[in-house]
Each structure stands twice: as structure tokens, then as C-alpha cells.
Symmetry: C2
Subunit: 336 residues, 2 copies
């Protein structure tokens, strides 16, 4: 592949001049520009980004760490970062880190090796301290979907507890009295906090939720189905079901209907996340909107700032987001 030297030689100028036209540098004669551009075209020249990154110490690259791309939630996250990359003429480097600390760490390390200017990291398993140390090393590091007080200015997160409360209020307002929950079996904060917020708000209204009406499963369609079966097997009736995420909620609806319950007439079902799926299901799923794409864009932009300016750490900055209730068809008023 042709290099800058080839271009220089064939156009009879110095590499310095070629570099100048490459970067729209100042003070280049029109004649030189034309000459060089012509040769570049002839040679089919493409500058080497690695060499550039090496000398400029910036890679024009945004890194993302997520578990995988198949989960639409993470795809949206990546897409958000991709959008700002595109706008800034940068590239998206993707690194997947599964549910273990080692795997997350490795994914991050690969991004550091590539010297990403910005890294948007979704980590659930790495400890606070490890992440804090990492932030110390990588100026453009931003955490998404996680809150660590010491580096709050690098955390873009959703208030899951508040989400649970909003869910409870919605169902309460719909005159429901008997509740069930499906949560995720994975021991990360999110499901715990959502459930906690939900229960707290219920208690404030004087309603308790029976422990046996809280089930756990894998956070996907099948998990929702199985948890619902267990719920039904228990035999105690309920009129409102709050589910950890949309995929599980759709699985739950499926199982409920298979068992003769009409949603929402017999049972209201409320999801969480508002992924594409929720608009495609029948009945269309009522859910809490998790603005992950915008959050990802915000995270990327914060990382960009952090990596360029030496921002003074304004610890007052707060990147907390509150989920928004999206009322569709799977929840309705309970006539008593």
C-alpha cells in the first residue's frame, strides 16, 4: 500500500508538504495541493491511521465495553456511542466482556492497548476500586449504567429504585391491590433496586407483596415464561405483575395467556427498558423507558470532554436519569 513517501516522491515535494495537504494544513500553495492530490488519487493512497495515532497520541477512536451485541439493549447503547463517533469523525471500537470480572477487565485492557480516546464502559462485575483506578489511568473513561460516588462525574446512570417506585405508583393508580413480581436471578444491583423501589412504594401505600409472589429467572423470554409458571403454580391470585425487563414481560404475557388469563383484562403486566420488542408485542407492552441510547451519547460526549480539556472535576455534576412510564396496552384499570 502506498505511503506518504511514495506520494511525496511522485509529486516532487517533501513529505512535510504532503502531510500538510493531508491535514488541510495552513500555507500550502494551490499548485502543491493539486499536484499532491492528483498523485494521491493515482496511487490510491490511504493514510495510515495507526502511524497517525502514534505520533499525535490520539487514536480518534471511541471504545465501548458491553456484554454482547445481540441484546437489543446493548445494541442501542453501542449505537448511541456510534452516533457521536460518526459525528466527530471517529471510529467505534467494540470490546465485549461477559459477566465475569476477568472478562470485563480484559475487554477494557484491549481498548487501552488501542489507546482509545474515549471509553464507554458497561461493567457490573468489576469492583468500585478497580474502576476508580482505571479512571485514574484513562482520562476519557466513562461508566454507564453504574454509579460510583468517588467518580460521579464519570457516571451516567439510571435511578432503578425510582423506576420501581414509578412502576408501583402506576399500578396503584390503576386500582390494583394484589401484586406479583418477576426479577432477574443475576445478582447485580439493577433488579434488586427495581424490586426494592417497587416494594417500598407499595408499602407506603399500605400494601405488602407476598414473598412467594416474587419469582426470579433468566432475563429473557424463557426466563419470563418459567418464572410465570412458578408464579401460577403457587396458586395465589394477583392482578398486577411487575417484571424486570421487557423480554421477560413478554414471556410472562405469553404464559399467562396460555393459561387462560387475558392481559390486561385479568392481569396487568408492566415491563422495564422499552426496547423495540415492547412495541411489537401484542398487547403492546406498557413499560418504563430506559433512555439508554441518549445516555450512551451523553457518556460518549462526557468522555470526549474529559479526554481533551483538562476539566476541573466539578463533583456537582450529576448524570442521573429517571425512567419514564410508557403506557401502552398491557396495563389497565382494575375494576374492583
Amino acid at each position: 500500500m502506498a505511503t506518504i513517501k511514495d506520494v511525496a516522491r511522485l509529486s516532487g515535494v517533501s513529505v512535510a508538504s504532503v502531510s500538510r495537504v493531508l491535514n488541510n494544513g495552513p500555507k500550502v500553495s494551490k499548485k502543491t495541493i493539486e499536484k499532491v492530490l492528483k498523485v494521491m488519487k493515482e496511487l490510491n493512497y490511504t493514510p495510515n491511521a495507526n502511524a497517525r495515532a502514534l505520533v499525535t497520541q490520539k487514536s480518534t477512536t471511541l471504545g465501548v465495553v458491553i456484554p454482547d451485541l445481540v441484546d437489543p439493549f446493548f445494541a442501542s447503547l453501542a449505537n448511541g456511542v456510534e452516533q457521536v463517533a460518526r459525528k466527530k469523525n471517529m471510529q467505534l471500537l467494540l470490546s465485549t466482556g461477559l459477566v465475569t470480572a476477568e472478562s470485563e477487565m480484559q475487554a477494557i485492557n484491549l481498548l487501552i492497548e488501542r489507546r482509545c480516546d474515549v471509553m464507554v464502559v458497561h461493567s457490573k462485575k468489576l469492583s468500585d476500586q478497580v474502576l476508580i483506578d482505571l479512571a485514574n489511568k484513562v482520562s476519557g473513561l466513562v461508566l454507564i449504567d453504574r454509579y460510583i460516588e468517588e467518580i460521579a462525574h464519570r457516571c451516567v446512570w439510571l435511578d432503578n429504585t425510582e423506576g420501581g417506585k414509578i412502576a408501583a405508583r402506576h399500578l396503584l393508580a390503576l386500582n390494583h391491590k394484589s401484586f406479583a413480581c418477576i426479577s432477574s436471578k443475576y445478582q447485580i444491583d439493577d433488579p434488586l433496586l427495581r424490586l426494592q423501589g417497587f416494594q417500598n412504594e407499595l408499602q407506603s401505600a399500605g400494601v405488602d407483596i407476598e414473598p412467594n409472589l416474587i419469582e426470579y429467572g433468566d432475563p429473557n423470554l424463557q426466563g419470563g415464561e418459567m418464572a410465570t409458571q412458578k408464579l401460577l403454580a403457587y396458586g395465589k391470585s394477583f392482578s398486577a405483575l411487575f417484571v424486570y425487563n421487557d423480554a421477560m414481560a413478554i414471556g410472562a404475557i405469553s404464559t399467562l395467556e396460555d393459561n387462560g388469563f387475558k392481559v390486561p383484562y385479568d392481569i396487568s403486566v408492566l415491563g422495564f427498558d422499552d426496547v423495540l420488542l415492547s412495541r411489537y408485542s401484542r398487547p403492546k407492552l406498557s413499560t418504563l423507558n430506559y433512555p439508554i441510547e441518549e445516555m450512551a451519547m451523553q457518556a460518549a460526549n462526557i468522555g470526549l470532554e474529559l479526554s481533551t480539556k483538562q476539566v476541573e472535576l466539578n463533583l456537582n455534576k450529576n448524570y442521573k436519569h429517571i425512567p419514564r412510564l410508557v403506557k401502552r396496552e398491557s396495563t389497565s384499570f382494575k375494576s374492583s
Copy 2:
């Protein structure tokens, strides 16, 4: 950030030696290894992949060009490539190119600048010739979801025509006599070929499909809904509907049911792609499985081979895939 020189200095050896332990090079004393590793840890040293890429002339990077990440189909494609990247200890570089030739070209160029060893490209708008020239320049280039005879050994593609035929056979076998189609309004090969295969097979069975019962729309939920409305507005009845993709098919089902038609009892609906959505819809969607993830993995592996070995161009190689019928609940036997 610490460099190899820092490590060399602090451990009292040459950079050459440090490089050797970094790469598990041969002939390094145990003592040196330990010393160097210790210092690397102390310094929190991370090698610079850009510098490495520059000197080795390989970036250990796999590039992917797709329109976006939000479409689950393309997310699966990217995920396939990501899997082989991970297995080979390489990284995924993502470049989005929307539906224009310029945009696709730019996305590809960015990947070339980065000197990706392998590029899996999904391009619908670039001309055959441009792609052929590109393949000439980039040894690891592979096209996915496209067939160009001159570079057949770099094309991993699906036989859309055959897909249409399979669809027709399925519906015919189910005793259907009157058909409708929903296609995509985008003028790329895929929808045309699918429709063509479908119609051809129908004709072979002596059945014609009325032109007014072929509608076009955006390839998403709303597009499917609108196309279905137009179909119904036309007033002519049909018992089987073949739809361009799953999202449109789900939109179609939604509209059909809103208009009092039961799927599949009144009308059978058959989708295409077999994305996640199709398993979540009610009724579960019968569709044609497009093994995009495996195809993406294959494409990545082919690119890897192409980029390393100087494979002799075995033009007999054929990477054609045939979609597989997945019968779920949205199609059923038509009792006449």
C-alpha cells in the same frame, strides 16, 4: 502512560528484551522475564497497539461495515464477526454506512485507514466494479449478503430467489390458493429476488398472484402495517401472505387482527429472516431462517485466511446459503 522504554530503564535491560518478554519471544532468561514483568506491573504498563500495528503491518483488527446497529439483523451480523474476533484475540472495528454509495464508501475507507486485517462488508449501493477494485486493494475484504461473480470467492450470500420459492412451496403445501405479498420499497436486490422466486414457484403450480395484491412499504413494523392496510383496502380476499421480513410481518399480523382477521385461521402469514422478534410475537411467526450470524462468522474466517495465506483463488468455492423454513404458529393448513 508508561512506554517500553520506561520498563526497560527501570528493569535495567534493553527495550529489545522487554519486547521479547512481551511477545513470549524465544531465548529470554527466566530472571529477565521476572524482572521485566515485575516492573510492568509496577508501572501499570500497557503496550501500545498502534505502535505495534505500525511496525508489524498488521492491526489484529476486524472491520465490519453495516448500516446500523439497531436493526437486529445487522447486530447479529456484527455479533458473528465479533465472535471470531474474540476467538482470535482481535478487535472489532465498526463502521456504519447508510444507504448511499458515498456513505458506504466512506465507511470502508475509514476501515482501510485503520489497516484492518479483515473487512466484512455489507454493501448494497456500491457498484460491482468499485467493490472489485476494493477487493484488489484489500486482501482481507469479504462481502456479505451480496454476490459478485468476479470475486465469488469473497462473497458469502443467501439465495433469496430460492427463499421465495421455499416460501411458495410451504404455502402451497398448506393448501392455499389465493396469495398476497408485501415487499420492501427499497430498490435493492433482496426484496426483488424473494418476490420473484415466490411468484415463479406459484406460476409453476399454475397460480398467479394479482398485481394489486402486492404491496410495498418500509421494511419495518409501520411499513408492514401500512402495506397491509392498503392490501385490505383493495378488497380482494387472500388466505396467505408472504412478507419481506419479520418486522413487517409482525406489523401485518397486527393490522390483520385489528381488522378482525385471525392469524393463522383466516390468513396465514410468513415472514423472512427469523430475527429474535419472530419468536416473541403472538402468534409466533413462521418464517425463513436467514443464518446471518453463521454467515458472518464464515465471512470473517474467510477474510482471515485471505489476509494471511496467499490462497490461490479457487473460484470453485461457493459460499451460497439457503434459507431454512421455520414453521411456527402464523401459518396453517387452509381447509377449502
